[in-house]
Amino acid sequence: MKMKLLIANRGEIALRIIRTCRKLGIRTVLVHSDPDRESLPVYYADERYPLGGSTPGETYLNIPKIIKAAVGTRCDAIHPGYGFLAEDASFVAACEENHLTFVGPPSEALEKLGNKLLARRTMHEAQVPIIPGSDGQLRDEDVAVEVAERIGYPVIIKAVYGGGGRGMRMARTSEEVRRFFRVTKLESASAFGRDVLYLEKQLIDPRHIEIQALADSRGKIVTLGERECSIQRRHQKLLEEAPSVALDEKLRERLCDAAKKGLAAARYVNAGTVEFLLDKSGRFYFLEVNKRLQVEHLVTELTTGIDLVEEQLKIASKEPLGMSQNDVHVNGWAINCRINAEDPKRGFSPSPGTVVRYHPATGPGIRVDSALYSGYTIPEFYDSMIAKLSSWGRNRDEAIRRMRIALDEMEIVGVPSTVALHMAIMNDDGFLQGNFDTSYLDHVLPRMNSALLEIERFAVAAGVASKMTLRSPPVQSQPSTSKSSWRSFARAKAVAQDWRAGW
């Protein structure tokens, strides 16, 4: 595989892609924004290309700048990572026009699956079950009410071009359907540029299960098993595992079969994920296709031993898949905890800032994908996910035990993060018994709060002891500026020297 690859992304996923490229001897060019000048992947890319600017619009979403970078540095291909331009059909078209290989599906497949109505129709025709809902776009409020009455409440009104948990609203009565129809239409027009809506039945507390697949340009498709992604906050995944406790062999086979049929119908090529909702009675419904490498791809890598980025690059270079379905073996269990720069004590508000200390967990069965380092300042312009902490075990129990240890050892100081939330989940009976669905998080938050209360006592004890260590001379002999943090640090340094002398 001979290519020079431009990476149109940042942070941990840019680093993840670079790692595979270095393994394969592929040269890389990393485009970056001004705040990302000192980010970790910049050090490991063979070439760097500053885009100029800070906001996503000026940088990682700017198609002309990125195409210019790729052409100017003589790249053959572009890997979009996830988010940003990963599923943007106009970007793929721009790549095609400039003879750049897009590492991902062709633009026709992107368009077919990016339009939610078209995706539903494609799946339905391929005999993949879809959630009961409107056949096409909703002409007006009256039609919306008519469809809602036919399929039964609650229903969810969705923007056809929406995504990322936005542009959708649940309605329980005909009045709400009318009201939310108007609101969602306005919101969709302003957020996504188009105001086309449709409507589906709202399933009650389903599980979110997805099938990872690889499809080559000759139409061969293999599935790499499922991922369980039910633990979410505001439609954003927080924790993923593979396999899922909710599936038996038979159901797994039916889901994989449905995923294959759906991807084949969309003429899909490259790595893709078919998401399903699974209801309490074991019925499943097509949700959407993620047309990219996903954040949580690493749990599949841990259970199958397959390097998904390598497979993506091979498929993009028109190589046939080097494996058949019989070669894929799911081995053991893997869990991924997304560590976000969000403060669990302040309602998960984002917390960009400087990481004073970073020490990632290590040990048997532990993998950390992150672009953090001590002294790194997390910019406020981009996503809050700062690390993916994964564990692998021969079975679920071992993976959970390893994750608990890893969470204890994970040190991120200076920026509040979601470590405590995952600690609470790893000790929650519902999670341990595999008894959870997409409504799970509300149930575990009180548990996290009581765990934090217990931890608070440890924190106070250490704080008081450190006060004794930093004990200042009597106040009257010092000017008022003596209590600046700089002086405190100077005192702390002196104390540390005492400690070394004591050895």
Binding site: S349, S351, V413, R457, K467, K483, A492, W499
Partner: protein
Amino acid sequence: MRDYRAKVNGRVYSASVEEKASNHFRVELDGQVFEIELVGKNEVLDWSVRSGERAVRAQTRALQNDIVETWLAGVPFATAVQAVGLANYPVQTDRTVERRYGGEIRALMPGRVTSILVKETDYVEVGSPLLILEAMKMQNEISSPIVGRVKSIGIREGETVKKDALLMEIG
């Protein structure tokens, strides 16, 4: 042996500390005993904290005045520590706790002001939504920690603000 009063997240703890050996402490916190050791000093102080069966590693750093910040489980616990019975040693408690009526609203995080929900002369209570600040792709409602009338608004919708920037004055 020394007694301290510690305040964190609105809760008050009483602690007595005994320095058993150099950098080795025994802390009794409202009846619960902790064995604490200073194990390192790098960017921050590193501590081993044990109580009963549980052992954790914590980091501390001194903030302004008498506030010590302890990091555990990925979150900071900013603790105001006051030595009991030491006169010339005034404690400065959490600023947000003291300033109940009037004051400045500053940005807790850098971001972009997407909408302002109050206007000058509006009366706000503790918890009244003041503005929406977008950071890390999330819309964050900033609510008032204080009571009073909005005296001045120093920002416009669409403006990008740095951390600690003055957003509003309430008097």
